[in-house]
């Protein structure tokens, strides 16, 4: 839970008052809370911990970090959680 995976913001939505978006981690997409990075926009790279973006990164740095995490066996799964629960709405307006 501590490596912090960088990913690219592909969409930003206001989810009933909560700044949320979809972030792409080298092909794996997850819904991520963007409340703590109010200036991060679509196309920006962010470091994500347990579903929350906590800082922004330059693209080249982000891509390299992603490559490294992908090279660590099991690290992606551990950071992103089990496959299959992606894209689920987060406390969203039903």
């Amino acid at each position: 839970m501590c490596l912090g995976i960088p990913g690219r913001v592909t969409s930003v939505v206001d989810d009933a008052g909560l700044r949320t978006g979809v972030v792409d981690f080298g092909g794996v997409r997850r819904e991520v809370c963007l409340a703590y990075v109010p200036d991060a926009a679509v196309g920006d790279y962010v470091v994500v911990h347990v579903g929350f973006a906590i800082s922004r990164l330059d693209e080249d740095v982000a891509l390299r970090t992603l490559e490294i995490i992908a090279a660590m066996p099991g690290a992606m799964e551990q950071e992103l959680g089990p496959a299959g629960n992606s894209g689920a709405p987060i406390g969203g307006a039903a």
């Binding site: 839970m1 809370c33 703590y36 470091v47 347990v50 740095v61 970090t65 992103l80 987060i90």
Partner: protein, 373 residues
């Protein structure tokens, strides 16, 4: 050097290593705080190629490992209640409690679910008001903003069936506790990069000044660690004791102030027991009085738990950095990642699991090999 250039750039790694060898004239003990850093150091064998006498001591930076046994037992007690859906990060499920672990309870029919984010637990609570949804809120400052937002969100949504079992730990008090120990041999720290992405490094400045100990905010990739080690040794060799930032690509001095605001709103600082280490004053977070209604430990009255630690496990010495996993008679024999006796064997960030996964054996003499590869 502003940015480390390439993970697999052997030339750059070699240059950093040469510089480390060139500047090191005395024996030094460096402690890396973050379990992700421990994993990289052990996996890459970084400690094996450092100069003789430059020793990496693996610190207590694995959140899974330091969550006290009592909290694991409380989690198990809550998870067995029929009305409860217990949610947790995956790596907490196999942490052994006194009598069971969450994964075994799940196998026996308890409603235990792995979530990637506490917001998923909020969603489950929202979708099924008939369930009492509890999230196991463990971790360092990196996960605290997420858990804070889950509680803020639950209040906004008016959820009455969501609560968190809080076992949050803070890095700076753990560092001072280690430094206050009479037998402390730590000369410098590599602080955890992502903790500092949230908190910044202002809190570390008084520690560096008061204890005369260099602290280098460091990332978790191999080149980050080599550079962090070099920066720390340079300070030691020139008699400086400052906070420096190796991880400039992700960390600013003030950290993420939005995240800090949320932490301050939802939590208050309290004493906390660290598994294997004991109580450290002011080293944890509890829910603030205004958010006490979201406290699972109150809601489910799980007091009176008697904990029973496996007597063979020397996790306390491992977490303090005074012993290596290979010093433990259970290591790799009775205790493996498949059937862990103690928490440091569970998570890949735990020192015992990192050693086991890297195939380290008792005969090895890490940290004293002077050769470079």
């Amino acid at each position: 050097m502003k940015y480390v250039e390439e993970y697999r750039d052997p030339q750059l790694a070699h240059q950093l290593l040469e510089q480390i060898h060139a500047v090191t004239t005395k024996p030094w003990n460096l402690m890396e705080v973050c379990g992700g850093q421990t994993n990289t150091i052990v996996r890459q064998g970084i400690d094996d190629v450092l100069p003789a006498g430059l020793r990496m001591v693996h610190g207590p930076g694995c959140p899974v490992c330091v969550t006290p046994l009592e909290m694991v037992d409380k989690a198990c007690a809550i998870a067995t209640r029929p009305e409860v859906t217990f949610t947790s990060y995956g790596d907490m499920l196999r942490v052994p409690g006194s009598h069971s672990d969450l994964l075994s309870l799940k196998a026996r029919g308890a409603d235990v679910r792995v979530v990637y984010s506490p917001m998923e637990a909020v969603r489950i609570a929202r979708e099924d008001p008939s369930r009492e949804v509890v999230f196991f809120a463990v971790g360092f400052e990196t996960t605290a903003p997420a858990n804070a937002m889950a509680v803020i969100r639950a209040r906004e949504l008016g959820l009455t069936n969501f609560s968190i079992l809080v076992s949050h730990v803070l890095v700076p008090p753990a560092m001072t506790s280690i430094l206050d120990d009479e037998d402390c041999e730590i000369d410098a720290f590599l602080a955890a990069g992502h903790v500092c992405a949230v908190m910044g490094w202002r809190e570390y400045e008084p520690i560096a000044a008061q204890y005369r100990v260099p602290i280098v905010v460091t990332g978790f990739e191999p080149l980050d660690l080599l550079e962090g080690i070099l920066m720390a040794v340079r300070q030691l060799e020139t008699g400086r004791a400052e906070v420096e930032n190796q991880y400039i690509r992700a960390v600013r001095r003030n950290g993420n102030e939005h995240a800090q605001d949320a932490i301050r709103t939802v939590f208050r600082v309290d004493d906390r027991t660290w598994r294997g280490v004991g109580q450290i004053p002011g080293s944890g977070l509890e829910l603030a009085a205004d958010f006490a209604e979201f406290d699972a430990a109150r809601r489910f009255a799980v007091d009176g738990i008697e904990t029973l630690e496996n007597p063979a496990c020397i996790a306390g010495s491992i977490l303090r950095g005074t012993k290596l996993p290979t010093d433990c008679p259970m290591y790799g024999i009775a205790c493996t990642p498949r059937s862990p006796l103690g928490a440091p064997m569970v998570s890949s960030e735990g020192t015992c699991a990192a050693f086991f996964n890297a195939g380290r054996v008792a005969e090895a003499t890490p940290a004293t090999v002077g050769s470079m590869t």
